[in-house]
């Protein structure tokens, strides 16, 4: 395959000043996402899909494309496809047809990929602010490993094929060109990933290739509704590379257009190591795939029973959950999305909220404690349900803090204990450790009086109107109370005793 460098301009830091200068360009981005479905067998044979196993250990005559072998469609993959369609609000086709997409490549053992063409499983739909064009099913290609310096087929000494991946079921999700920036594309893809993970249809792991993304990118003069000439950026395998790759391609196109040049329709490869974008093939070199209906398979008739089964299998989806958290529970939008898009946090939040802890924690405070204090004390990505902190214990702790029975600082100390040792009764820890909040009328008042005496200079400055000077006084109380005092209450008492 021929490759030529088209630009080095896309290197990171190469400038994305698209709002600078006289003409401003608006990027128009659409994504094509390939999702490996977590079925027990491959798309058209009984082999188990696998990742990381010794090469060519999950193969059979069908996925090796041996003469005489025939495909049989995986019902579970169709079921997962329907669930994806339901999650995206797509129209589900009553009849869906597999087509052959014909081209020669060593990772394609039959010389054609069984895919879908003009009768896909799902059409239309939306996720967040992005419209979905279609969702269809197909089989994955095998994995090519190029031996030699370049790591790519061009210039390699040899290429070897691992057919373990070949025939793994894929759902291809194609969006409309509704995205406007690299960041937005990456954020939206994260929402899609969470949605698919919640559906349980895929491991959606970009590093392992169970989630892969190509981007179609064009620029147009801001305000115009016409679409510019697009390029297709292939196969970026992390969220970071997606953002960088799209940003680099936007910069490349912008530089071309500003220099009076034209964007050429072509397929591009982004090299994350160098930041370089190279051409894989131009429009003229594009394959004629000679699609025709796969004669070895019957059209899939999508019956009401199949749709009902898919519907019954649907969990609450992140977008719906965020909506519920925000409007029914009253969380801020940010908290609602945070908990909804990490299902383990959302589940933990709901368990805590429903635990009947007394005093009951206000939902927003509980959300904050989970998202910040608890997550910060766990391993990266650890499910809090797997930690020693029981949901009802956290709920009780947040309830006590909110009722000012325990200060925030003391509450954090209790949480440290819960993370380390577990336990179901934070009140007992409070008592045992002497962390109960100091009473405003008696203990705290006298402690504040002592603090004013010990920090006479500071007290004088506060009295003279320098509010910032209160720091050392509050610090004294906190130190003396071992964090049991409530900072706000301390400040109130300081001002009161100084008559400010």
């Amino acid at each position: 395959m021929r490759q030529r460098p088209v630009s080095e301009a896309g290197r990171e830091g190469g400038g994305t000043g698209r709002t600078a200068g006289e003409s401003t360009f608006e990027p128009v981005i659409g994504l094509e996402i390939h999702v490996q479905l977590a079925t027990l067998t491959k798309m058209f044979c009984a082999c188990e899909p696998s990742f990381g196993d010794p090469p060519n250990t999950h193969t059979c005559p069908v996925c090796l494309g041996l003469p005489g072998s025939l495909p049989v469609a995986n019902e579970r993959a169709v079921h997962f496809g329907l669930m994806i369609g339901l999650a995206l609000g797509s129209e589900l086709a009553p009849r869906s047809v597999f087509h052959r997409k014909n081209y020669f490549y060593p990772d394609l053992p039959k010389g054609y990929q069984i895919s879908q063409y003009d009768e896909p499983l799902c059409r239309g739909g939306t996720l967040g602010e992005v419209r979905i064009h279609r969702v269809h099913l197909e089989e994955d290609a095998a994995k090519l490993i190029h031996v030699g310096a370049s790591g790519r087929i061009h210039g390699s000494d040899a290429s070897i094929v691992d057919f373990n991946r070949g025939g793994t079921p894929l759902a291809e999700i194609v969006t409309e060109p509704d995205l406007r920036s690299a960041e937005q594309a990456s954020d939206w893809l994260k929402l899609l990933r969470t949605t698919l993970r919640q559906l349980g249809v895929s491991t959606v792991n970009m590093e392992e290739g169970s989630l892969r993304c190509d981007a179609n990118i064009s620029l147009r003069v801001a305000g115009s509704s016409a679409l510019g000439v697009k390029t297709e950026l292939k196969n970026m395998n992390s969220f970071r590379f997606i953002e960088r790759g799209i940003r680099a391609e936007i910069a490349r196109q912008e530089q071309l257009l500003k220099g009076g040049g034209q964007v050429v329709q072509e397929t591009l490869h982004f090299d994350p190591a160098s930041g370089a974008i190279t051409s894989l093939r131009s429009k003229e070199e594009a394959h004629d795939y000679r699609y025709f209906p796969e004669p070895d398979l019957l059209p899939v008739a999508i019956g009401a029973d199949m749709i009902a089964t898919a519907r019954a299998a649907m969990p609450e989806l992140p977008a719906d959950r965020a909506e519920r958290y925000q409007h029914e529970i009253g969380l801020t939008e940010e908290s609602a999305r945070l908990l909804a898009f990490r299902a383990d946090l959302g589940d933990y939040f709901e368990t805590a909220l429903a635990s009947g802890a007394e005093p009951a924690p206000p939902p927003q405070a509980l959300a904050n404690w989970i998202a910040t204090d608890l997550v910060g004390r766990l391993e990266e990505g650890e499910d809090p349900a797997d930690s020693r902190v029981q949901a009802h214990a956290l709920a009780a702790l947040v309830g006590m803090v909110s009722a000012k029975r325990v200060s925030v600082g003391a509450g954090r100390q209790v949480l440290d204990k819960l993370v380390a040792d577990g336990g179901s009764d934070p009140a007992a820890i409070v008592e045992a450790e002497g962390l109960r909040a100091l009473d405003g009328e008696s203990e705290l008042s006298s402690l504040v009086a002592a603090a004013l005496e010990a920090n006479a200079d500071a007290a004088e400055r506060v009295r003279a109107g320098n509010a910032k000077a209160i720091g050392p006084i509050v610090g004294y109380v906190m130190r003396e109370s071992k964090g049991r005092a409530d900072g706000t209450e301390v400040a109130r008492l300081v001002n009161e005793q100084l008559g400010v």
Binding site: L66, P67, G68, G111, P295, D296
Partner: protein, 479 residues
């Protein structure tokens, strides 16, 4: 029953002889094996109908109901560890790691593999001349072709080198060689028999079927072939068991004769024999009437778009990467593909791949492939309409008797016309059987009987009645 000459027995008779203890399956197998080997070793090359013959007889414990009556199998059926190259250089020395469903089913029923038979490369041809193994010959006249593409199977059965054989039919590849060799050949309803393990030519048309000495044997073999296979999504459960035919009369049976398949282009001698057979059918009580298949004259054109289109895709897997031939000397991927396919495929296969690639190309799909599919639908409708008036449709199987070797190899269109009478049934997916109905110029003529989908039992019964009445003498072809 003459148990002293086991090779004179039909397959059904051999089953009975073995189960009655008059014959051992090993003895029968050895006799056929010796005869097949002798033909292969003949100084003049013999009939060249076998591409491989089993060296060892199978074990003594051959199961009922077929008790070890050996079976010749067209090369394109995958047989584990046994060469299966579909008549192509491309798969020289290829040993499949698995066995075709229908071959396993027959072996399981007690019909072990005797040998693999010659065929046109990837089943593309009507004369078994397009073979990497060289042309097979017709036992009635060794200067003539046995028909194709299942010509090796037909010649082996006709010559008595095998009791029966398995063939495949895409546009006539069982029926036409059966007709040219004076044997019985049946193409089942599309979907009745699993295609798993058949090296594909055209997926929407390919069907395996029996090639036998008589109609009873065809039914006996078919009984063990039909059924849904989980490995073939286009296979269907056969609605009833295949019965052994007993029909003697055709009282009340209405036979339709389509003028589109019985007029121009059919040899005089073939038509004469065909009309004589119709007269016998009337004597047996059948009513013969005209029917119309108005789109049948377009069948050949549609077929030669659809079958090449499918084959252009089916044969893409022969790329030199994983198995079979890989041309030496290429240093680039494209070069390796090009040289491998240049060297591995014969001229007719290349012609059809090119035709099919063109028909599916962007901008031509609608004019060729889509249009041919619409013709196919109309042809199926024609048959449906006709079967509202008649039980079966009768036509000659082949427009001519066996032609001379080399006579049509330079003229592909003349060769394609051999399929004129068989392709309409293939496109409609309906069953059809060819039985010998007489001689023209000393060469066999085939009578084709076609019925609605899944009418195999009734069709076999009618064919049996005709067979009894026609009393065709096949002895001249026996070795």
């Amino acid at each position: 029953m003459n148990a002293t000459d086991p090779l004179a027995l039909s397959a059904g008779e051999a089953v009975e002889a073995i189960s009655a203890g008059l014959l051992s399956s090993r003895e029968l197998f050895e006799a056929y094996r010796a005869r097949a080997e002798a033909d292969r070793a003949a100084a003049d090359g013999g009939l060249n109908c076998f591409t491989w013959v089993a060296e060892q007889p199978p074990g003594e414990d051959q199961p009922p109901p077929l008790h070890g009556v050996p079976l010749a199998i067209k090369d394109l059926f995958c047989t584990e560890g046994v060469p299966s190259q579909s008549g192509s250089r491309m798969l020289e020395g290829y040993l499949p790691p698995y066995t075709a469903t229908v071959v396993s089913a027959l072996a399981g029923a007690g019909a072990p593999l005797l040998g693999k038979t010659n065929q046109d490369e990837f089943a593309m041809g009507s004369s078994t001349e397009n073979s990497a193994f060289g042309a097979a010959r017709n036992p009635w006249d060794r200067e003539r072709v046995p028909g194709g593409s299942s010509g090796g199977s037909a010649a082996a059965v006709a010559a008595g080198l095998a009791p029966w054989a398995l063939g495949t039919d895409t546009g006539g590849s069982i029926r036409q060689p059966a007709a040219l060799c004076g044997i019985v050949g049946l193409k089942p309803t599309y979907g009745a028999v699993s295609r798993y393990g058949m090296i594909a030519f055209a997926s929407s048309l390919d069907q395996a079927g029996p090639m036998t000495r008589n109609v009873g044997d065809a039914a006996l073999m078919l009984r063990h072939m039909v059924g849904r296979d989980r490995c073939d999504a286009t296979s269907l459960a056969f609605p009833e068991e295949i019965a052994l035919p007993t029909g003697e009369r055709l009282d009340g049976v209405r036979l339709g004769v389509p003028e589109e398949l019985t007029g121009e282009g059919i040899e005089g001698g073939v038509l004469e024999s065909f009309h004589a057979a119709l007269a016998r059918a009337q004597e047996l009580g059948a009513e013969v009437q005209d029917v119309h298949l108005p789109h049948a004259p377009h069948a050949l054109s549609a077929y030669y778009v659809l079958a090449p289109a499918e084959c252009s895709s089916n044969l893409a897997r022969f790329d030199g990467v994983r198995y079979g031939l890989r041309a030496a000397g290429a240093d680039q991927l494209l070069d390796m593909y090009t040289r491998t396919r240049h060297d591995g495929f014969g001229a007719e296969v290349k012609r059809r791949i090119m035709l099919g690639t063109y028909a599916l190309s962007s901008g031509y799909y609608e004019a060729y492939y889509a249009r041919a599919q619409r013709v196919r639908t109309k042809i199926a409708d024609d048959f449906r309409t006709a079967f509202e008036q008649v039980h079966f449709i009768l036509a000659p199987t082949s427009p001519s008797v066996a032609f001379k070797l080399g006579e049509k190899t330079g003229d592909p269109l003349a060769m394609y016309l051999n399929d004129y009478c068989t392709v309409p049934m293939s496109l409609a997916g309906i069953p059809a059987i060819s039985i010998p109905c007489g001689l023209s110029e000393g060469l066999p003529v085939g009578l084709q009987i076609a019925g609605p989908a899944f009418s195999e039992n009734r069709m076999l019964d009618a064919a049996h009645a005709m067979e009894q009445a026609l009393d065709f003498d096949a002895a001249a072809a026996r070795v």
